[in-house]
Symmetry: C2
Subunit: 354 residues, 2 copies
């Protein structure tokens, strides 16, 4: 089993001798019914059209948003069968017509699934040269680079949102996740307080070992009271919530007047529940956050600036811990393992290439 | 039984001979347990302090917000016993020290309960000269004037909010209420479409007779589908919701992407329920509206301009229908009658004065 050989591909590309096979291995979802609808199949290697690139994939993580895709809870919902995988890394080995694509040929890139076609859990992926790929910083490995988009840009955006409104402290649920750890490091560097919420004592310990000063366990009896005290003590008026369901209402109640809960994931898979009195009489609001549309509102210059800043922090504040690298063929079992244990490092899927 | 005699009081005030009694009749709430905790008692007539005025009351309506107060669901919650009553009208018969109060002496005024003291269901009320009273337009009767604040300013503010963001159509729940009727007249005059939601066929007919073009009955089987179609057809991205509970989620689902539901009352008395996917992936938000704080953010000039505009429309767009005038002594039964039948005109409570 050999992974992506960047140097060899670069040489072959230079000589114009790069062989691109007819068929590839890909993970396919047959219906939006969860992990059991996943299978691995051989399918034709797609061909890039105008302003598109063909990426030979190196790695792709399993993100919570991928799980939402499998269950049909995500914002994109193309007609199945689809190839899942929200982001990844690889090398551009072919391009369609258009200037922009040509710029990327032979480059190591991070890829983002923009919801218009198949995702990254495959050996080859066609994606748009306009927003579907961005160049990887040389210092970043393909493994780290596979996780350049979703978590690093979400964490960066959370900081941008918090700073724009002058917040000094935020509340964060599902705080022991990879994203949660990044948010903690990034906000700490910027001098902002994070009030972390997790579900287990082990996660409390874990985050505290990593330097988090305030971590609450939501399964404790006095959680709501403690959260309320901390929100008022730190004058925190903003929460980023990955849980939804009852948690959103608990956050809303704990925060002082004139606060907002921004929901960015719904790990509980439950409807948001909130007290109307909190919303009417305490000037509290519920809003949503979805990375793709947020970023696509920026102009190219703003995006590139954000990208460069995030790439620069990929070895420090925005680094992901990798728990395991699993062959693409074993994606189904890998997703099951991830479902059983969602914190403690990322699982990367990697094509083998014979 | 004689009501407030404005001319007589004016003469007596001019001669400095106005007798103010020691005791008065007032409605009192003993606990936040609803209408059964109401009783009528004799209590001392309060004395105005610095920048305060004493109003001899003419009339005070029973508003939905008063019902929320009785049940302890309102934003203000002073320690009982309290005198309820959110707004009313009367004449200023005495003032405490301070220039501002003196301006109002002998004037017909509308009064607003600002949540700092007793309310309007009494023969005499002390309120702040800075925001608790505003002069009534000469053309407005004391009965209409008793309903100058809550509904007219809420309807005016809804129009202000809708126009500020360039909306051409809004959704309105509990649309057959007095406020709902005002909103319909005001928005129609301004050329904005209202998509009305009510719960009964009789209310559909009623609003249509009043000129509303779009009225939906939320108890019909195809309500959600119809609402969705209408929201998209009219490109409506804003809803004002007085119901909360499941209705908020239904509104959120029916509205197109990039929409907001503003909750201003919670007639269902149920927790807001909403799909997190709608909030995350469709850029939909839930916000609250409370008249008092909204207005208090304005400066005095803005408030007076808004007040004058609203007073000018009190005989047309912002007129309330009066169903019954009930003596203050019978407040408990009047509230019960209102609870049984909340649409179809306002019930006014009126002191009798022997």
């Amino acid at each position: 089993m050999v992974g992506l050989q960047v140097d060899q591909i670069a040489q072959e590309l230079t000589r114009g001798q790069l062989p691109i096979p007819e068929k590839m291995t890909a993970v396919v979802l047959d219906a939006y019914t969860g992990v059991e609808a996943l299978r691995v199949e051989q399918r034709p290697v797609p061909k890039p059209g105008k302003d598109e690139v063909l990426v030979k994939m190196a790695a792709s993580p399993i993100n919570p948003s991928d799980l939402a895709v499998l269950e049909g809870h995500y914002g994109f919902k193309l007609t199945p069968p689809i190839v899942p995988g929200g982001e990844g890394s690889g090398m551009v080995v072919a391009v369609g017509p258009g200037m922009i694509g040509r710029y990327f040929l032979g480059k190591r890139v991070a890829c983002l699934n923009q919801g218009k076609g198949d995702g990254m859990w495959a050996e080859y992926v066609v994606t748009s040269a306009k927003g579907g790929v961005l160049p990887l910083n040389k210092a970043i490995s393909l493994e780290q680079g596979a996780m350049s988009f979703v978590n690093p840009l979400t964490a960066s955006t959370f900081l941008e949102i918090a700073q724009k409104c002058g917040h000094k402290a935020i509340v964060l649920t599902a705080a022991a996740s990879s994203l949660g750890q990044m948010v903690n490091r990034l906000f700490r560097s910027a001098g902002l307080q994070v009030i972390n919420i997790v579900r287990r004592d082990a996660q409390v310990e874990f985050l505290k070992e990593q330097g988090a000063s305030v971590v609450l366990n939501s399964s404790k009896a006095n959680f709501e009271e403690q959260l309320r005290d901390l929100c008022h003590q730190h004058d925190s008026h903003l929460a980023f919530d990955a849980v939804a369901g009852k948690m959103t209402g608990q956050l809303l109640t704990a925060l002082p007047e004139h606060s907002k809960v921004i929901i960015y994931s719904a790990l509980s898979r439950e409807a948001v529940e909130a007290s109307p009195s909190q919303i009417i009489f305490e000037d509290k609001a519920i809003d949503g956050f979805w990375l793709g549309p947020y970023i696509s509102k920026k102009n190219l210059l703003q995006i590139l600036r954000m990208w460069r800043r995030a790439q620069r922090l990929m070895l420090t504040e925005l680094k992901s811990t990798i728990r395991a690298e699993i062959p693409l063929q074993e994606a189904k079992q890998a997703v099951k393992d991830y479902l059983d244990h969602m914190t403690g490092g990322k699982i990367l899927l990697k094509p083998s290439y014979s």
